[in-house]
Structure formats: structure tokens, C-alpha cells
């Protein structure tokens, strides 16, 4: 019977055979693969889903070739549906990448730069935040990893912030913590507008495309994967060095009476007090003489040496993932459960993230496929730290404004007897807090549920036409709480009567797409074109409610507010309707031209100006495909592109009380991921209470603009990809220039106009830059040692082009042609030959009344070197990366000096002078000169001294207290300017794959164990802060939790 059917088929002469080509590595379809009948001229190309149709005769052999894959052959024996898997060719160019809209394209044919990172590379040496793991992997892509729990990293591409995360072709709302690395097949970084123009204004600066894992890789039809990492945070790489030789006080004097200023410098003190010499000084725990009621002196010793190091504990990062994937002829499924637990190095701080992920695909027929995906992510913690400068911060309390006169271990029982819940114990009661009291009682909760998912239906109408329909939802609900106990008294809450606050936010976004794609080959011309429409609807609302002191201590409820509650609400809606399309034209082996266009109608812009179009074009040509090059050159490609993006009046993140007054004067305001309207262009009043419960209204400070147009940004890019010695060495170079503007800009106006700013289409900047990626395989062997190297390097500079008609300067100092990241700050007045001029009266430096140019804040260039070694079952890899150049203020240096805690105040000449301070002797002489003839200093409008000719100088000989000198010297920006140059040994992985000789007899299919380390070495001139956290144009550091090394192990098992 079978034979007969087969014979019948043979008799039928020719027959259409359908098939699909997928990649063996990731089960993803391979589009654009060439199918040829061996020995004939008939051929076909696979479509976006890797499918093809070709007329065959029984006995034919199909040859399937595709760049980057080992060619395959398959004999046609009457099958109707051929499933062909291609294995990637390690020696070849391995590149098919995910581009905008989730379309996989050959890198070879792309006219712009993209770089891809395999998800598996990031799940061994883990970071609490998955995006931090991308550091150094892509040229031009910078991550300012924050060490703070739940803080978002700064994610920069070519120096501009990106906030577009696209999962399987659809944008999601992401705070970067709601991404589950174990479920990610690959990350593709789309660089700049050209690559991401199809996503509209959200793709202005680029995008991170995430392709999720699907189906099974296993022949059995299912597989079970278990990945587990346990890592420890221990050993500081950046921590302020502080002195433990002198205690709190002022000019060497201190005596405790009530800790609130009742004694000698016993409240809100600096650490400029007496030296620890065992002398008797009344202290917070000194006994009270019953006869006099006064505290007796007790020995003044450094009992709190290394308080911070003794307070901080080993951090833990434990992540576990279990996934099950399955595949049948018709369906593919994947279930995944991940849990991440982070124990902070600060006691009683922790973070849990649980992630469920389900994806499923079902082929109704070879032409009709349904795919769905759902991700549930829950972040939860009852307490995370807030290190922002102020009395809410442990670093502020221990490292800057706390001395070594109290022992951290004595602070564990923190309630005063008989005042439990009302009054804590500490060495001071005005400004500072007992660290144990803070971490145990002052609690900040974070509870966030993110959900995103999509359903996608694709239907192959005929051989050339495919229709896709897709709807997606991205949403979150957030609750943040703060329980502030009695006797906590940060800025603005000096009554110390406790508070309770709730910050609730909710976001919902839906994207619905329809996309029709046409694909055909005409002679030597391959054409692919799509036309689509997208509707994006967005809703956000939030509320913030706070008590105004509590009646009953320890009861955290709005019903317990002593004074009227503070409450704020916010809501915003947005709708974006888009039509977009693209055309990809490939002419034989010569060139590929891609054109895109997009119309947006955006509800945030004024009616009449809210519909706009923007195009992009790119061209690539692989010269080595059609020109005979010297043998040494195995590949040569040129590419170029142009793109324009428009948009406006939306913002990436949103604060606690948008359009209202944020009532807190301390701590970090949480900025949630947003993407909705700014309402900058809406006139109206700000209303707040001004007198008791009476309100005042203040009219907007911005002149609104009903004829505001969308902003515009235009990018050009050119690049070259050249490979030598059979692809053993590769160099990819990109040059780009982006004309950003006219922006939508709040131009400063004179206050005399009655406003602060005017919202205009103005201010244009141009950014030029270079990126280079060098790859090499110095050693390659099937049996011996393999060594792969990748070097990424990038640089850019951004300058002002023009401002607005009639505006010649921006922010006083900037003119067209100036770099945008110029940093102006307070500076010393100097003699023509560069010596500091000191005040003749007090011997301290004179500070210029006008801010002076001090440097540029952006790094000059960034770099990373990855090395990977493989030897039999072992693998070993490490990465160094860093940034070079750029300046900022080291705020920790500034404050530790001013507060008297910096270690340098007890070393060398400063140490000698400090001892004299303590003895009451002025002994410090600051460097530089004084004006000896009494001439005053005249300045012009830019702070240049105009009357040097009237001055006579003499060396500064006025002795002063070191403390007083430092308070002026280190309060000046110039004294605290540091270079942002640093390098890190980012990552080390040593792995071992258990050989099949062992596993063969077990139910385990694959097993790998790795020993991993992150951030093991830190190189920088100033190690009191971790410079990495300031990746962009920040002009000053903040306080930060000291950063540590992280090391541990990873186990990966497939069943």
C-alpha cells in the first residue's frame, strides 16, 4: 500500500514539498536559507519562519545552505513536510540576529551595527540585576551598575539612556529587575535610531531585544534544566577609608550632656573632636553621679574602631531556575520557575524575586501558527536600605558623621529601658541614628508584580504573503511602604514622632499589531516588504499617602496620623496609533537596501502637530562576495545607514508625586519605569497648603506652547566588518553621527517674563563617535586548547549645534560648538602663575564668585576585553573592562574631609596639624599666597580677575586650624574633582563539563559546574567610591553602599 502511494507519487512527476529549516542550537527558524535541488536549477528561499516550498521529484536531494551553518543535504522520499535542522558552523560567520519587530536577519545583510549576547553567558556569574551582566559585552553599550538593592542601573548606548526592552518583538515595560535571565535565549543590542526606528520614539537611542527560550532541544521531545547559583558578597573593593583616632566634636572638644546640643558639641556633631587618649570624658553611656545629676567622665577610647566593617555582613545571592521544555510535531512548550534571593550586606535587608514563565506554540497547519508567552514576576522585600545622603543613610551615620567613640555591638539593644518603641539609644539624639535601630525598626518595603505576555498568530496566505496578528500586555502593580519609628528624625521630620507612608503605582499597556509581509525573489532580486499597524494604549495611575507624625508609637496606619494626612494622586492615559512598513531589497550577492517608514499619531502632542512621519534607510554590501580579495582577507563588508525619529512629551521614568509637591526632604525618591505623558505642555496651577489647612495656588512656571512640534533626531552611521585568516581575526568598526534636535526643550527665560522656562522646539546637539570590536581566536583546536578574545572599544563626543532663534548662550556658560558635558563648579582664585590666593585675614583659599570650567563629565572612551579558554571538559573565561577619562566631584571625599573622618586628616602633615588643632594651636598653613598690599580683587562677569596689576603677593604664612582650612578647601568643587577612570576585573568563570563517560550511565544528560567571581579587582585612583556607578554625565558622586567582590559557584544540570 505504501509502495503504491509512493509509486503514484512518482508517477505524478513533480510534487510540491513543504519544509521548515530550524537552527539546531536554539530551535529557531532560519529565514533566508537557500534550498536547492541537487543537480538542478530549481531553488527556494526560506521565509521568516524558516519555511519553504519547492517542487521536487522523488529521489531528489535537497541542498540546504545558509551562511553560518554547516550545509545539509536531505533526500526526498515522498515526505510532504520536511523538518530540517541546521547546525551552526563554528568556523563561519555565525550570525543571524534578531532585529526590530523580532525579525531575524543575517548580520551580513544589515546596514547598521548590532551585537548579540547569548543568554547562557549571563547565568553563571550572576548579578542581582540581569542588565548589570551585560557590562562590557557590546561596544558602545555602557551599564552603570548600581550596588544598591532595587536601584536601576544606568543603561547607556553611545552615552544616551535607553529604556526600550523588547521581548520577542514586542516592547515591555521594564525596571530591569523584572527580566528573568534564565528564560532568555539571547540579547541583541540595537544601536541607535537606525536599528530601532521601527519602534518609534522609544527606540530613539537604541533598544535591547530579548529573545526568550522556547520548545525543547532534545530528541526525546522534552528536557528538564536546572540552573543554580550561589554567590557571596564579601571583601570591599570600594569603601571610604576613615580615621578612628579622633572622636566627635569640634576643634578637639566634646562632652555629652543630652546628645542634643546641651553639652559640648554633643548634637549634630562633626568628627573633629578629642583624640582617643583614654582621658575621662562624659559620654552617652557614662554613669550619672546621683549627687550632682551630672555624668562622670569615662575613658575616651576608640571602642568603635571599624564599626562599619563589623556591622556589615556577607551578602548572598542565590538564584535557582527549573525549566521544562517539550516539543511535539505540532506544539512546543516551555515552563520555567525562577527564584532569586538576595541577602544584602547591610543587616536585615533582603530581596526576593520569583518569576514564572510559560511559553507555548502550536502549529495548526504548516501555514498557521499560534504562539503565546506569559511572564509573571514578583519582587518582594520587607526592608531594603536607603543610602541617599542624609540621616536615613547608614553610610551617612557610620562613615561620615559617626565617630569611633561608640561600639556598634553596644547598639544592638536599641530601646531605652521604659521607653521601648519610643526612644532609641544612641550616642547622639539630634541628627544621627543608631544603625541597629535603623535596620531593625525603620523599614522600607517593596512589593511589585510585573506581568507581561502576548499572543501571536501567523498565517501563511501563500508562498509569498504572510499575515501576523499580535496582541501584548505589559503591566505592573507596585506598593512601597515606609515605616518610620518614633525617635527617627531625618531631614524635615525633626519632631521624631514616627510616620507611615504608602506609594502605590499601577501601569497597564497594550500593544496590538497587524503585519502583512511579502517575500519573493525575482531573478537576482530578493524582495521582502512588510506593512503594519500598531495601536499602543497606555494607562498609569499612582497615589502617595503619608501620615504627618503618629499618635501611637509603632502602629503604622493612616488612622494613626497626628496631623492631617498628606495625599497625592496622579493618572495619565496615552494612545499611540502607528502605521509602519519596511522594504528589504537584496540584489544578488552585491547589496542589500533596507527602507523603513513609520507614521505615529501621539496623544501627548498638541492637536495638529501630533501626526508625523519618519524614515530610515540602510545599505550593506559584502565586497568579499563579489571581489577577489587577497587570501588573507576572508570577509569584507561595508554598511551605511540613515534614520530619523520623532516623538515628544513622554518620559522614561516617573517619580512619587508627579505634578505635585514631593513632601519628603530625605531619602531616595523612587522613579518607576513609565514611558507615558509628561504633561509638560499643560498649563495649570500647583495647589498646596500654605498656611495651616489653607491652600495656595501657583501658576505653571513654564510657558506652554500650543504649536509645539515633535522632536526630531537624525542619525547617520557607517561601518566596516573585515575578517582575516579564515575568520580567525575580525574587526568591526562603526562611525556614527547623530543630530539630536531640534528637541523639545524647556528654554530658560528671564524671570522678568514671569516664567522660568518656555517649552520650545529648540536646542540641537550633534554627537559623533566610533565603536570597534576586535575578535580573535589565537588558538583553535578540536582536541586541545581553544582561546577566543573579544575587545570592545567606543568613544563619542556631543556638542551643541544651535539653541533657539535669538538665544546665544545656554545655562550661561555654553555656546554653540561647546561640548554638552562641560562641568562648571566652584573654584579657587589663583595668581597668574596658578597659585591659590588665600584670604590674608584667615589664611584660607578665596573661592571665585563665578563657577569655573573644571572638566568634562563623560568618559573619553570605554573598553572591555573578554577572554575565553576551552580545554577538553574545562572552560575558563575572564573579562576586564573600564572607562577612561571624565571628571566628577567625589562627594564622599568632600564630606569625609569636612566632617573630619577622612583618613588623610590623621596622616602626614595634616595628621600633625590635626593634633595641634586638638591642643588648641593653629598650625596649618595652606598652600599658595596672600595679597600682601591689601588690594581687593575685582572680577569680570566670568570670574576672571581684572586687577592683577594692583596686587602684590606674598607666601601664605597665616596659620589656621586644619579643621577650618579643610572646611573651606574641601567645600570647593575644584578640590574634590576626580577622574572617572577605572578598571575592573569584572568576571572570572572556571567551568567543568562532566564527561559523557560518567553521565552516560545516569539519567543526567548534561552537567556543568562553574566557580565564578565578579568584580574581583577594582583599579582607580580614588577607591572611596565605586566610579562605575557614574557611567554618564553625572558631575558628582552620591553616597553609596561600599561595593564588594562576589564569588560562588554555579551548577547547571540537564535531565
Amino acid at each position: 500500500m505504501l509502495f503504491l502511494l509512493a509509486a503514484g507519487a512518482t508517477a505524478w512527476a513533480q510534487q510540491q514539498v513543504n519544509g521548515q529549516v530550524t537552527s539546531a542550537e536554539d530551535q529557531q527558524p532560519v529565514p533566508g536559507a537557500t534550498i536547492k535541488v541537487k543537480g538542478a536549477t530549481r531553488g527556494a528561499l526560506t521565509d521568516a519562519k524558516g519555511q519553504f516550498t519547492i517542487p521536487t521529484q522523488p529521489g531528489d536531494t535537497l541542498q540546504i545552505t545558509y551562511i553560518g551553518f554547516v550545509p545539509a543535504e536531505i533526500a526526498v522520499k515522498g515526505q510532504q513536510n520536511l523538518l530540517i535542522t541546521l547546525h551552526s558552523d563554528k568556523k563561519a560567520l555565525d550570525e543571524v540576529v534578531v532585529t526590530a519587530l523580532g525579525i531575524r536577519k543575517e548580520v551580513k545583510r544589515l546596514g547598521y551595527a548590532v551585537q548579540e549576547i547569548k543568554g547562557d553567558d549571563l547565568v553563571k556569574a550572576r548579578e542581582p540585576n540581569p542588565i548589570n551582566g551585560l557590562v562590557g559585552k557590546v561596544a558602545g553599550f555602557t551599564v552603570g551598575a548600581s550596588a544598591e538593592m532595587l536601584a536601576s542601573p544606568q543603561v547607556l548606548l553611545r552615552g544616551s539612556s535607553i529604556n526600550l526592552y523588547v521581548v520577542d518583538g514586542v516592547p515591555i515595560n521594564s525596571d530591569t529587575w523584572n527580566i528573568s535571565p534564565d528564560d532568555i535565549e539571547s540579547y541583541t543590542v540595537l544601536k541607535g535610531a537606525t536599528a530601532s526606528a521601527l519602534y518609534g520614539s522609544r527606540g530613539l537611542n537604541g533598544a535591547i531585544m530579548i529573545t526568550t527560550k522556547r520548545g525543547s532541544k532534545d530528541k526525546r521531545g522534552f528536557s528538564i534544566d536546572f540552573n543554580s547559583s550561589t554567590m557571596f558578597d564579601n571583601g570591599f573593593i570600594a569603601i571610604p577609608e576613615v580615621q578612628d583616632e579622633y572622636g566627635p566634636g569640634d576643634h578637639g572638644r566634646y562632652a555629652f550632656v543630652d546628645g542634643k546640643g546641651g553639652g559640648t558639641n554633643d548634637g549634630d556633631y562633626d568628627i573633629w573632636g578629642p583624640k582617643f587618649e583614654g582621658q575621662l570624658i562624659p559620654q552617652y553611656d557614662s554613669p550619672i553621679d546621683p549627687a550632682t545629676g551630672q555624668r562622670k567622665g569615662t575613658p575616651w577610647v576608640a571602642r568603635g574602631k571599624d564599626n562599619l566593617k563589623r556591622f556589615i555582613r556577607t551578602g548572598i545571592l542565590s538564584t535557582n531556575n527549573l525549566s521544562v521544555s517539550a516539543k511535539t510535531d505540532k506544539a512546543d512548550l516551555r515552563f520555567s520557575l525562577s527564584h532569586s534571593f538576595q541577602q544584602g550586606i547591610i543587616p536585615n535587608t533582603h530581596l526576593n524575586i520569583t518569576n514564572f514563565n510559560v511559553s507555548a506554540g502550536y502549529n495548526f497547519s504548516p501555514r498557521l501558527r499560534l504562539e503565546s508567552y506569559l511572564n509573571y514576576n514578583r519582587q518582594y522585600t520587607d526592608n531594603f536600605p536607603d543610602v541617599n545622603y542624609g540621616p536615613n543613610s547608614l553610610i551617612y551615620n557610620i562613615e561620615i558623621w559617626g565617630g569611633a567613640d561608640w561600639n556598634i555591638d553596644d547598639m544592638r539593644n536599641y530601646w531605652q529601658p521604659g521607653k521601648e518603641g519610643v526612644q532609641s539609644i544612641y550616642a547622639e539624639y539630634q541628627r544621627y541614628h543608631n544603625p541597629w535601630f535603623m535596620v531593625k525598626e525603620w523599614l522600607r518595603g517593596h512589593y511589585k508584580t510585573d506581568m507581561n505576555g502576548y499572543m501571536k498568530l501567523t498565517y501563511q496566505l501563500n508562498d509569498h504573503l504572510e499575515l501576523l496578528g499580535r496582541t501584548q500586555v505589559s503591566s505592573y502593580d507596585l506598593l512601597r511602604t515606609e515605616k518610620m519609628p518614633y525617635s527617627a528624625h531625618p531631614y524635615g521630620r525633626e519632631e521624631g514622632k514616627g510616620d507611615y507612608r504608602e506609594d502605590r503605582r499601577s501601569l497597564f499597556e497594550n500593544n496590538t499589531d497587524v503585519l502583512l509581509t511579502y517575500h519573493n525573489t525575482f531573478n537576482k532580486l530578493d524582495l521582502r516588504a512588510s506593512l503594519g499597524g500598531n495601536a499602543r494604549s497606555f494607562k498609569y495611575n499612582s497615589s502617595f499617602v503619608s501620615t504627618n507624625y503618629l499618635n501611637a508609637p509603632g502602629w503604622y496606619s493612616f488612622a494613626n496620623s497626628r496631623d492631617p494626612l498628606y495625599a497625592n494622586t496622579f493618572r495619565s492615559d496615552m494612545l499611540v496609533l502607528s502605521a509602519y512598513g519596511y522594504v528589504d531589497l537584496t540584489y544578488s550577492k552585491y547589496a542589500t537596501l533596507s527602507l523603513t517608514g513609520r507614521y505615529d499619531k501621539l496623544s501627548t502632542l498638541p492637536s495638529g502637530n501630533n501626526l508625523y512621519f519618519y524614515p530610515s534607510a540602510s545599505l550593506s554590501t559584502v565586497v568579499s562576495d563579489y571581489v577577489q580579495l587577497p587570501e588573507i582577507i576572508s570577509f569584507l563588508k561595508f554598511r551605511g545607514s540613515y534614520a530619523n525619529v520623532k516623538g515628544g512629551l513622554t518620559q522614561d521614568t516617573i517619580g512619587t508625586t508627579p505634578q505635585g509637591v514631593y513632601p519628603l526632604g530625605y531619602g531616595t525618591q523612587y522613579y518607576a519605569s513609565y514611558g507615558g505623558p509628561t504633561f509638560q505642555n499643560s498649563p495649570g496651577y500647583s495647589v498646596s497648603t500654605v498656611y495651616q489647612n489653607q491652600a495656595g495656588a501657583s501658576y505653571t512656571r513654564t510657558i506652554t506652547n500650543p504649536s509645539l512640534k515633535p522632536f526630531s533626531s537624525t542619525a547617520y552611521e557607517a561601518g566596516m566588518d573585515i575578517r582575516f585568516l579564515r575568520n580567525r581575526i575580525g574587526l568591526d568598526v562603526t562611525w556614527f553621527t547623530t543630530k539630536n534636535g531640534p528637541r523639545i526643550y524647556e528654554l530658560q527665560v528671564t524671570d522678568a517674563a514671569g516664567y522660568d522656562t518656555y517649552l520650545v522646539n529648540g536646542v540641537t546637539t550633534r554627537k559623533n563617535g566610533w565603536e570597534a570590536s576586535l575578535t580573535g581566536s589565537p588558538l583553535r583546536s578540536n582536541t586541545g586548547l581553544n582561546w577566543d578574545v573579544m575587545v570592545n572599544w567606543s568613544t563619542f563626543k556631543e556638542k551643541y549645534v544651535d539653541f533657539y532663534p535669538g538665544v546665544n548662550t545656554l545655562n550661561v556658560f555654553f555656546k554653540p560648538g561647546d561640548r554638552v558635558d562641560g562641568f562648571y563648579g566652584t573654584a579657587f582664585v589663583k595668581t597668574p602663575d596658578g597659585q591659590i590666593i588665600n584670604d590674608a585675614g584667615d589664611g584660607r583659599p578665596i573661592v571665585n564668585p563665578v563657577k569655573q570650567f573644571l572638566g568634562y563629565t563623560n568618559p573619553d572612551w570605554t573598553w572591555a576585553i573578554n577572554n575565553a579558554f576551552r580545554y577538553k571538559q574545562f572552560n575558563f573565561s575572564f573579562q576586564f573592562d573600564g572607562r577612561v577619562g571624565g571628571n566628577m566631584i567625589d562627594y564622599i571625599q568632600q564630606q569625609t574631609f569636612r566632617g573630619g573622618r577622612n583618613i588623610k586628616t590623621v596622616e602626614g602633615a595634616m595628621g600633625d596639624a590635626r593634633y595641634q588643632d586638638y591642643k588648641g594651636v593653629k598650625s596649618w598653613t595652606g598652600q599658595g599666597v596672600v595679597i600682601s598690599n591689601g588690594a581687593g580683587i575685582s572680577y569680570d562677569n566670568n570670574g576672571n580677575v581684572t586687577n592683577y596689576k594692583d596686587m602684590q603677593f606674598a607666601p601664605n604664612s597665616t596659620k589656621t586650624y586644619l579643621q577650618d582650612y579643610i572646611s573651606v578647601y574641601y567645600n570647593t568643587n575644584e578640590a574634590n574633582l576626580i577622574s572617572k577612570t577605572f578598571a575592573k576585573l569584572r568576571e572570572v568563570v572556571i567551568g567543568y563539563n562532566l564527561p559523557q563517560s560518567i553521565l552516560g550511565r545516569t539519567f543526567i544528560r548534561q552537567a556543568n559546574i562553574s566557580f565564578v567571581g565578579r568584580n574581583l579587582l577594582y583599579f582607580a585612583k580614588n577607591k572611596d567610591i565605586d566610579i562605575e556607578q557614574y557611567a554618564g554625565d553625572q558631575g558628582t558622586s552620591t553616597l553609596q553602599t561600599p561595593t564588594t567582590r562576589r564569588y560562588g559557584f554555579n551548577v547547571n544540570v540537564t535531565f
Partner: protein, 510 residues
């Protein structure tokens, strides 16, 4: 598609802010802005009432940069308030419009005093004029005086010929937390302020167009047309409370109590006059008590620091709580609760001294001495000092009863008794006015010194600006940045140079 369009315009609208409000709401923020310069702020240190001895918190260096001319923002709210009043049924003549005239005068007076010439006729027009020309300071003052006239006459009509039919929001003053919506009191404050402005122009007596003397005379001689403040209960003042806390209060005792000490310009003047206000506002210097064994009831135990003293020295002298050289703020008055004293914006004592000064200058006839005494007595009343009897100084919870008789103990002193309508008498008037300005009334302490040199302000190695007290602020950076052409033209015109110099002399004090 229709539904989409509807939703489109809906989504553009910001529902988080009101686009329109009753005029009483902008009024609230304007009134709040009037109180922007608060007791014990840096402005009060520049008035030399007190000093900061802790360089982390502040200094007396007078390193002035750009002025804060946020009065323009307040005036934008004045314009909005007036429009809202008309929108909500107000007549052309309504209370908001009447007060609007006064607010214009008030904020322009504050601003022009800091810098000199200002955009005025072309100001406050938003995008219709982003580069307003500067008016001469003289023109600004002429306009201020005109606004005050208009305010007075508009209030006159509203009080004496009210539109009893119109009860609309735009015709009814609400939300006035200074005078509880009493227009009569506002009118008195307006006229008292009018006197302040005229006195501020004392160097322009000869200007025939300004007619300072005539205007002063017109006000004083016609109490029906120009009612004035009649006592301390009619002061325009900000009353502090447990929510709007007095800037010095129990919350900040531990921060401030030893870091700010009294200034000699104020306190040593009181002591030299044996003025009991010293007991009320200051603590005795602990060195005087503990080393020199004086009691808190001995006025010579009260010592202020020269504001020009080197901060290192001042801080050394204050570093020991038991032997501090200078007096601190009175703890029992200022740190005991959240409402130590009202912040006077336009006060009765000042008005008395302004009238006394005008008489002294022979602008008007009358008894300068009588007004001088009224002013002193009103100020003493503010501090709870009885005309005759005893008052209590509490120090470290111990009560010291100090007997006092205004006439015999105080006024009888040659230093206090009015020396007649001459320069000595003028010096007495302005000195007493200065003492009554303690920690209140905006910049008036500094402005009166700048105008008359009374009392002598302290300078020294603690004074920045090469040891000089500056005579003005620079214009704010936004003038230079966004209105550069007019900015540099006005500097050239006023000072003969385009350098914006804090030591330049403006028209008002030439």
C-alpha cells in the same frame, strides 16, 4: 475613528492640575511669598542681627552672587489672580485687583532694592516679550508710588462704597491669613508701606517729579483718605503655629543653639542703651557668667559678636559652652515652642519711626519725639516689656525678675532721649528702627544702613568681598543668559561698565 479622535483629545488633557481656580487660591501663594524672607535666615545675618559661627552652616561673608528675583513669579500669580477674579464675577474694581496693585508695589520694591534697574513696563508678558527692556530704577519707584496710590483709592471705594449685590467669588476676598479678609487693615498696611517707600527715597528729596515730601505730607495730613496702622494688632505679620513653624523651634535646638550667636551690631547697641530687649532676645554670654561671675540679670553679661570677625576666631570663642564669649539666642523665647513670635512684614514701630524720620527731615510737621517714643514702646511691647513694672528673664529654668520703668530707667538716658530734629536725632530714630527690625521686615535693616550708614555695620577679616559690604546683588543668571542684550545695556547705563558688580552704586543711594 470618531471614538479614537475623542479619546485622543481626552488623553492630551492633564487631569492632575486645575486649569482654573478661584482667585483666593493664587492669593494664598502670593501671601505666602510675601513672607519669603524669614526670621533667622541668611538675610537676617546680612542685616547683622545675628551671626553663624559654624562654617558648615553659614557665615557672614557677604559673598553675594545673583539676586533671587522670585517676586516676578509672585507677580505672575498676581496677574492670574486678577484674571480669575474677573472670570468668577468680579467687578473691574474688586478686592483682588485692589490688592494686586499693592502686591506689585511690594514685590517690585523688594526686587529693585537688590539690583537696581528692572524690567517693569515690558515685564510679565510671557512669550509676548521674552526680552523685556529694563526701566530705570527711578521709573520703577515712580510706578511703585503710583500703584500704592491706586491701591489705597481702590480699597477706599471697596470699603466705603461696596457693591452689596455682587457676592461672587471674584468680588469677595477669601483665604487671607494675614488680616482675615479685612480690607480696612490692608488699606492701613498699604499706606504704612507707602511711607516706607518714601523714606527709602530720602536721598531723592530734591527730585521734583518724585515729590516725596509732598506725598508724605499728603498721607500724614489726611487720615481719612490715608488711614495708617494704629497699633501692633494691625501689623501685617505672619503668625507662626505648630504646622507653619517659627524657623527657630524645639526641632532645631540641637542644630542651631550654639552655632548661631548674636551680632554686636544689634545686641551691643541694646546693651549700650541698657535696653531690656537684650534680656528677651539673647542669652547671657557664659564667659560673663562663669568667669566674670555676672548674673543673667546683668545687662553687661550680654555680648554680641562683630559680624566682620574672622569666622575661625568667632568659632574658637564659642567653642566652649561654659566660657562662650558671645551671647546665643534666647532659648526660652525661641526654642520653647513652634510659635515664638510673629514675623512682621509691615509693622507699626517701623511706621512710627518713618514718621519720626520725616519730621526730623522736616518733610512734615509734628513731634518726631512722640512718634519715636511710640515706636520704641510698641517694639518693647512686642517683647513683653512693660512700661513700668517687672519682667522675667528665664535662664536655665531660673527666673530673674528685672524691674523696669520705660520713662525713668530707659527714656531718661541721654543716649535714648530724643536729641531733636538734627542728625543726632536722626541717628537715634534709625537706630531704634533697626532694633525694632530685629529678625523681621525683610531687608529693611540692611537697606536702612545702606541709605544712612546707621547703625555702623561691622566688617573685618570675616567679611568676604575684599572686606567690604556689597551694595547690591548681581542680576540673576537668567537675565544674563536669556536677556543678554538688555542686561548688558542696563549695566552700562547704570554703572558705566558691563561688569555686574556687587559693589556698584545704584541710583537709589546716589
Amino acid at each position: 475613528m470618531c471614538a479614537c479622535n475623542k479619546q485622543f483629545s481626552d488623553d492630551e488633557i492633564n487631569s492632575n492640575k486645575p486649569a482654573q481656580v478661584p482667585p483666593s487660591l493664587p492669593l494664598g501663594s502670593i501671601l505666602s511669598d510675601m513672607n519669603a524672607i524669614r526670621p533667622w535666615s541668611d538675610v537676617m545675618r546680612w542685616n547683622q542681627f545675628d551671626c553663624c559661627n559654624y562654617n558648615y552652616y553659614g557665615n557672614q561673608r557677604y559673598d553675594w552672587g545673583g539676586a533671587k528675583l522670585d517676586g516676578y513669579g509672585s507677580l505672575e500669580n498676581v496677574q492670574q489672580m486678577e484674571q480669575e477674579a474677573i472670570r468668577l464675577g468680579g467687578n473691574t474694581l474688586n478686592p483682588y485687583a485692589a490688592l494686586g496693585k499693592f502686591f506689585r508695589a511690594y514685590f517690585f520694591y523688594r526686587m529693585t532694592n537688590l539690583v537696581g534697574d528692572l524690567p517693569m513696563t515690558e515685564a510679565l508678558q510671557g512669550k509676548n516679550n521674552l526680552t523685556p527692556k529694563y526701566d530705570d530704577q527711578r521709573t520703577v519707584f515712580i510706578q511703585i508710588l503710583a500703584w500704592l496710590e491706586e491701591a489705597n483709592s481702590a480699597l477706599d471705594s471697596l470699603i466705603n462704597n461696596p457693591d452689596k449685590v455682587n457676592t461672587s467669588e471674584g468680588q469677595t476676598l477669601r483665604n487671607d491669613f494675614y488680616y482675615n479678609n479685612k480690607l480696612d487693615y490692608w488699606r492701613r498696611a498699604v499706606n504704612a508701606f507707602h511711607l516706607r517707600v518714601l523714606i527709602a527715597l530720602s536721598k531723592k528729596e530734591a527730585d521734583t517729579e518724585l515729590k516725596i515730601q509732598q506725598q508724605f505730607n499728603a498721607i500724614l495730613s489726611n487720615p481719612t483718605k490715608y488711614p495708617l496702622l494704629e497699633g501692633m494688632d494691625q501689623n501685617l505679620q505672619f503668625i507662626y503655629n505648630n504646622i507653619n513653624k517659627y524657623p527657630v523651634n524645639p526641632d532645631n535646638l540641637g542644630f542651631d543653639a550654639t552655632r548661631y550667636n548674636m551680632s554686636a551690631t544689634y545686641l551691643n547697641t541694646l546693651v549700650s542703651l541698657r535696653d531690656p530687649r537684650a534680656f528677651v532676645t539673647a542669652e547671657p554670654a557664659t564667659e560673663q557668667l562663669n568667669r566674670l561671675k555676672k548674673t543673667p540679670a546683668d545687662i553687661t553679661a550680654y555680648v554680641g559678636a562683630p559680624s566682620g570677625e574672622n569666622l575661625t576666631d568667632m568659632s574658637s570663642k564659642m567653642s566652649s559652652v561654659d566660657t562662650a564669649v558671645y551671647s546665643l539666642r534666647s532659648r526660652s523665647r525661641y526654642y520653647a515652642n513652634y510659635a515664638a513670635e510673629p514675623g512682621i512684614i509691615i509693622g507699626y514701630p517701623e511706621m512710627c519711626f518713618n514718621i519720626a524720620e520725616a519730621i526730623n527731615r522736616k518733610w512734615v510737621t509734628g513731634s518726631a519725639e512722640a512718634w519715636y517714643k511710640k515706636g520704641i514702646q510698641a517694639s518693647m511691647g512686642f517683647y513683653g516689656i512693660p512700661e513700668a513694672g517687672t519682667f522675667v528673664k528665664t535662664y536655665k529654668n531660673i527666673r530673674y525678675e528685672i524691674p523696669f520703668n520705660f520713662e525713668t530707667d530707659y527714656y531718661a538716658q541721654a543716649t535714648v532721649k530724643y536729641k531733636g530734629d538734627n542728625t543726632d536725632g536722626l541717628k537715634q530714630i534709625i537706630t531704634q528702627k533697626y532694633l525694632a527690625f530685629f529678625e523681621n521686615t525683610d531687608w529693611e535693616g540692611y537697606l536702612n544702613w545702606r541709605r544712612t550708614g546707621i547703625p555702623a555695620f561691622s566688617t573685618g577679616s570675616g567679611t568676604g568681598n575684599s572686606g567690604k559690604i556689597p551694595l547690591r546683588f548681581k542680576y540673576p543668571d537668567n537675565h544674563r543668559n536669556a536677556n543678554a542684550g538688555n542686561w548688558s545695556a542696563t549695566l552700562q547705563k547704570q554703572f558705566g561698565t558691563t561688569t555686574d558688580d556687587i559693589n556698584a552704586v545704584m541710583w537709589l543711594i546716589k
